[in-house]
Amino acid sequence: MPRISLGGWAEDAVGWLQSHLSWLFDAINTVLTGMYDGVNAALGAPGALFTAGILAVVAWWLRGLLAGVLAFAGLALIDSLGLWHQAMATLSLVLVASVITLVLAVPLGIWAARDRRVSGALRPVLDVMQTMPAFVYLIPGVMFFSIGPMPGLIATIVFSMPPGVRMTELGIRQVDGELVEAAKAFGTTPRDTLLRVQLPLALPTIMAGVNQVIMLALSMVVIAGMAGAGGLGEAVYAAVTQVNIGGGVESGLAVVVLAMYLDRMTGALGKRVSPLGRRASAKAAATAARRSPAFLSHRPGTAVAAVGVVVLALVAGGMHLVSDDGGRQSVAAGKNVGRGQSIKLGYFPWDEAVAATYLWQNVLEERGYKPDVKQLDPGPLYTALAQGKMDVQFDSWLPTTHKQYMDRYGDKLSDLGSWYGPTSLELTVPSYVKGVDSLADLKGKSAQFGGKIVGIESSAGMMGKLNDTVLKAYGLDGEYKVVSSSTSTMLAELDRAIKKKEPVVTTLWSPHWAYDKYDLKKLKDPKGAWGQGEQIHSVGKKDFAKDFPRVAQWVKDFKMSDKDLASLESAIQGGGKGKEKDSARRWLDARPGLVDKLAPVGT
């Protein structure tokens, strides 16, 4: 069977699209990002409780007083967890994605309902959209649209489109054929048949589809968070990669609150907009015995609700104006070399990357730059750097771990030198495991460890090295199986094993906070199979030194000692999630003169 190079073709296609249709992607990008920014600016306006109030009034109007009160309570909870801005970013993403999805899905569904061939042709396409793992198109999404909300938006649209199309088609097909025939028999045009008979009657099913679209969009934002979409997805993702259970639960809960709000509101909206729904609720209200006190289901009139929304919006707007001045941090005279130039710092949620990135964010702000910090997965981040859509990142492990990215994009990146090193890769056991101190000691003890070594992502460079070199060097390759999972899974497994005092052997590297948290033993490598330790480099886009000459020089001179990095990492860990910037700020403030050392300006 000859190898069909399907993957190669796909890569060629992506490359061709990138070089020939970039104007189209740029246009789409501008429009959609504009929509997203607009919605996000409105929802994320200061005065979280006023925005929560507006959303609660909407709930009151659609479902009743009880729903309004619960909505306000849920949203206030999000605010108190410190996740308000992430939640509103997520809500904006979901709303924009849902609107675009519906604008595309409903006409497609109508078309499919009217033409069997279209329906037949759409079905496999929808299947692909629904089942193709999102990561597969998240990366091309980054290539076309750069990092930020766009790839997440695209992925969300692709993923949530199928139920919109299917439910619309189903809804229209479900309309009693005799009714359609009756419409025709009275001389109704096909267009009016659709508008006056089919769509109104299909509306409950279509609204169920809308509900599905929104819920799927929400479930997608976590994945979109890995491509820099921000919002709760990023918070969840960061919490998971750092095995921050509390943070994970909090941000997960915020997702749930949003999900329930959106689900109940679209459900109620479905009843409001469809004539059949209105009819049904009127009937229910007329016949059903009141089970709950009347005031709980009291709903204000549309006018009252509109007035409420407007008043809250005006008050919030007024607050915004009042609080706006004096908010800006002033930059010391003579040190404003950045003059408001914006610079994009990217990182993936590895602890030293978080530490260095937030450190530099503070330093650069003090020098008058406008640093924009974005969390991404390594793949999207290197892609964005190669495209010049991201300016710099600080956590490039070379020559091994990130070799694959440098091989691929090396000529489109600029290496700004190492700031920490050497690092080391190793296999690690808890120190209560006696008699195992070096890699050679593992031989013949596979039964003790269940024959497995807990690894990290199979894509990681060290996993390849472990399988190809290290195990062979010590004759362990037949005896142990390297289980690839994810860093967070590996850490969770380590945590579990340590709590039960079970023997376990995992891949780990230095620097890592796990060495501070647990009592661990690095297995010695007398044969040097892991090779030399690595250096942590800063990597910029190709033109970084041209666009930011001063910053490039500062970053090239940037060095950090083991001790400083450890204290910065622990300061950031201790400060808690979402406050990384402030924690780094406090760490800097405790070291007067450090900013001038890191970023000297000519006297």
Partner: protein, 356 residues
């Protein structure tokens, strides 16, 4: 000129329908076509309907009667043949012209009412006028009048799901009447109703027809209904019209065994008239009861219950047209094929009438 005329209508579903029509014209049977995967729903149907007439198409399910009805207003395009409405060939019209005809001249009443559940009763009745673009006030007024005619005055602001089946069909009838279309197509319109309600609706339709003089094509599988309503009745079987005539024609002179077996269950006493079963006027005793030629046979039972003497039948001018004896009456009520005593000659009645 007749109001509605169907000329050699064919409807074939499946691949290459035109070729199938040619084979049917060449004498191929329906079953032969079915073996090839094509279904001939209507085969060579021709008939005429006069203005003000109720034309009933009767047949069992699958006989093609609903397909035939839908070709009359173009909901289905005939594979071959023409439909002439007031001499205008509907099959030659563009889609737009056809919609215009449907909204003005031909309306339809459906088996399961087909009311729009998202519209009030009044808005349902006004639907046809709304499609035609009649201003809101006028169409509401006319729809209310139509509802009044259909016996639903006062229910305008109700919703279809609040009405019983019979009332829903009255809305369906009002919707068809509101457009002032002259031709009403009624597709098994009363079949889904309870027997008692069905009778009411039949009575109401006959009553309305007396006043409005519409031209109606009525589809049914119920022979009693056909006999009650139809000025003329076409019996369909396997896509073909096997007999087309008045109720009496069909009862007295069934075209074949199929029609004969069909009419076994009919209450013949309500359909047959004295004129259709009378014998030559011979030996009428004095004091015999006298009835008209159009008197239903069911009204002859009373005279015979207290005397055995024959009943005299007179025509419109009061002249003696014939007599009905007790034996003749009983023979006529028995089904034709199983009655050796009956005079099988279909010409009897006509002869007698002619001689008189």
């Amino acid at each position: 000129m007749s109001r509605l005329k169907a000329e050699h209508l064919y409807k074939v579903f499946g691949r290459r329908p035109e070729a199938a029509v040619q084979r049917l014209e060449g004498g191929a049977s329906r079953d032969e076509l079915r073996a090839d995967g094509t279904t001939a729903a209507v085969i060579d149907a021709s008939f005429e309907v006069e203005a003000g007439q109720i034309f009933v198409v009767m047949g069992l399910s699958g006989s093609g009667k609903s397909t035939l009805l839908r070709m009359l207003n173009g909901l289905l395009e005939p594979t071959a043949g023409r439909v002439l409405y007031d001499g205008r060939d509907l099959t030659a019209l563009s889609a737009r012209e056809l919609r215009e005809v449907r909204s003005r001249n031909i309306s339809m009443v459906f088996q399961h009412f087909a009311l729009f559940p998202h519209r009030s009763v009044l808005d349902n009745a006004a639907y046809g006028l709304e499609v035609r673009g009649v201003p809101r006030e006028e169409r509401r007024e006319r729809a209310a009048e139509a509802l009044e005619l259909a016996g639903l005055g006062g229910w305008e602001s109700s919703w279809p799901d609040e009405l019983s089946g019979g009332m829903q069909q009255r809305v369906g009838l009002a919707r068809a009447l509101a457009t002032d279309a002259d031709l009403l197509l009624m597709d098994e319109s009363f079949s889904a109703l309870d027997p008692l309600i069905r009778r009411d609706m039949q009575d109401q339709l006959l009553d309305l027809q007396k006043r409005l003089k519409k031209t109606i094509v009525f589809i049914t599988h119920d022979l009693n209904e056909a006999m009650r309503l139809g000025d003329r009745i076409a019996v369909m079987r396997d896509g073909r019209i096997v007999q087309n005539g008045t109720a009496e024609d069909i009862l007295v002179r069934p075209a074949n065994d199929y029609v004969a077996s069909f009419i076994q269950d009919v209450d013949r006493s309500r359909v047959l008239t004295a004129g259709s079963i009378m014998d030559r006027p011979a030996g009428v005793p004095d004091g015999a009861t006298t009835v008209g030629t159009e008197t239903p046979v069911s009204e002859l039972f009373a005279p015979f219950s207290h005397s055995g003497t024959p009943v005299a039948v007179t025509d419109e001018r009061g002249e003696l047209a014939g007599v009905v004896t007790r034996d003749r009456l009983l023979a006529a009520l028995a089904e034709p094929g199983a009655d050796p005593g009956a005079d099988p000659s279909p010409a009897t009645g006509a002869e007698v009438t002619a001689r008189a």
